[in-house]
């Protein structure tokens, strides 16, 4: 009956292997849960930009608060990175892809709010404590960065509307120019990823909406005077 022992032994090894793997996954999930907690906090803060000015913090304060939370985010990604190891990034990446995309979106938005420009992938990665190189193992996927940009466009179209409601007619015009360039950039890409492609279709819609806001401002002469500069 030696045979039997052999088979059983092998399956016991396999079971302990599966157990280990399962535990790793659980730990990853715990970490991702922490990241999602951070993401929720950031999201709640960022909603403040749509509130009438008087009600909440200034944009500056909001950006500051958001960036402060990224200290905790970086620690989480650090831990995740150790857990996952270089080779297994793509094995588990579906677990954190959603939250990573959202962080990328938050950082793109903050960059625009602070500096009025497109955040670079490197900067997003740095603020999350990640690399942009696949070879580094735990990195910021290009798709997640791009998806973050598209989410930002949606948020900006909402912001353009709410700025007007709050009596700010300058920001929508800034947003319009920014999103125009962003759309031109995306037009260069031959997107195969269905999810991104669908989001990209949304960009056209966002862009049209922002153009409508600028139109409403311009036709009523509400925008900044030309000689005011911007």
């Amino acid at each position: 009956m030696n045979e039997e022992v052999g088979v059983f032994g092998m399956f016991r090894d396999i079971e302990s292997f599966l157990k280990t793997e399962h535990d790793v996954k659980e730990k990853i999930r715990d970490n991702v849960n922490d990241l999602e907690q951070d993401a929720r906090r950031i999201s709640t803060i960022l909603q403040g930009i749509h509130q009438p000015c008087s009600a909440g913090s200034t944009t500056k304060q909001i950006c500051h608060q958001v960036k402060a939370i990224f200290d905790s985010v970086r620690v989480c990604y650090e831990k995740l990175s150790l857990l996952v190891g270089k080779q297994q990034y793509f094995k588990y990446c579906s677990l954190w892809q959603g939250v990573t995309t959202r962080f990328s979106f938050y950082l793109s938005l903050v960059e625009f709010l602070e500096f009025g420009k497109l955040v670079e992938r490197q900067k997003v990665a740095d603020l999350m404590g990640l690399s942009v190189e696949k070879s580094a193992g735990f990195h910021l996927e290009l798709d997640d960065y791009l998806c973050g940009l598209l989410l930002m466009a949606g948020e900006l179209s909402r912001l353009a509307v709410n700025c007007v409601t709050a009596g700010d007619f300058k920001t929508p015009i800034k947003i319009s120019k920014f999103v125009y360039d962003l759309e031109a950039g995306f037009r260069l890409l031959n997107l195969k990823n269905d999810f991104l492609r669908k989001k990209y279709d949304g960009l056209k819609y966002d862009s049209k909406k922002i153009e409508q806001v600028v139109y409403d401002i311009k036709i009523r002469g509400l925008g900044p005077k030309i000689d005011e500069g911007e």
Partner: protein, 278 residues
């Protein structure tokens, strides 16, 4: 297999025994299924009546006091149905039957929070509008009924379970009603040239609060895949309601900005007399 040697029961008596216990099981199952059916029917009534109550609340062509009086009557009638459910389930754990009355419960919560908002709205500032949200506690308190068969100090009250998830789903739907009212108000404000004090702003703020809160809660719920999908779906609907509200407020604001830029400003003062706004 080596059978255990023991006194096997006599075949006929075993059969009789088995049939006897299964007859009991049948009764137990029949009772449960019947109960479920009765609760489902009451639940359907509650859904219908709650929907009617919501329609009623949109009818702002009567004075608010009369409106609210009628609404209270309708509420009382719905609560009677809940009371009946509670009486049916007096010996049961109402959680076990939650699926039978969950659609009705959610519609009821929607109606109640809409009603509460309308009651408090006029005396509440926009910046304070979050106080007009119906709380879970409030819902739970509404669904406490006297127990007709109360014995001494125990079982004095009948209650129905209101799981958090049902509350959130009911609350989520109220954004739809608030959105409808927000756009109607925008139209009215523009029609009456009362652009600065539009109720739209308040309703938009209300929807925004609900959306932000629901967003935070719903992503934390540890639920089945089907439920998760439902939450995501609701969140999308709420988002689109919020956008509609924001767009409505935007329209009101943009219109309000039209005036100073025109020479006709002075003429306006004479034209926009109250008689014009019907």
């Amino acid at each position: 297999m080596e059978p255990v040697q023991s006194q096997y029961p006599d075949s006929e008596s075993r059969k009789t025994d088995i049939l006897a216990v299964f007859a009991q099981f049948r009764d137990e199952l029949d009772i449960r299924y019947n109960l479920h059916e009765q609760v489902v029917k009451l639940g359907r009534d509650i859904t219908v009546e709650s929907k009617k109550l919501i329609f009623h609340l949109h009818r702002n062509n009567v004075t608010t006091d009369v409106l609210m009086l009628d609404a209270e009557k309708k509420k009382t009638s719905i609560l009677k149905k809940f009371h009946e459910i509670a009486k049916l389930l007096v010996l049961e754990d109402s959680l076990q039957f939650i699926r039978a009355y969950s659609p009705g419960l959610q519609e009821f919560i929607e109606a109640m929070s809409f009603m509460q908002f309308l009651k408090l709205e006029s005396q509440t500032a926009t910046s304070n509008i979050h106080t007009a949200v119906l709380t879970l506690k409030q819902v739970q308190n509404i669904l406490i009924f006297p127990n007709p068969a109360a014995t001494g100090d125990k079982n004095e009250h009948l209650t129905l379970a209101v799981p958090l998830v049902e509350y959130l789903l009911g609350l989520a739907d109220v954004t739809g009603e608030a959105m409808r009212m927000c756009i109607n108000c925008a139209a009215e404000s523009i029609g009456s040239s009362d652009l600065n004090n539009s109720r739209s702003y308040k309703l938009c703020a209300f929807v925004r609060i609900l959306y932000n809160a629901f967003q935070v809660c719903s992503t934390q719920i540890d639920s089945s895949a089907g439920r998760m999908k439902l939450f995501k779906e609701k969140l999308r609907t709420m988002h689109s309601s919020l956008i509609k509200c924001e767009d409505a407020c935007y329209t009101v604001k943009v219109r309000g900005q039209e005036i100073p830029n025109h020479l006709l400003k002075t003429e306006l003062l004479t034209v926009s007399s109250p008689s014009y706004t019907e």
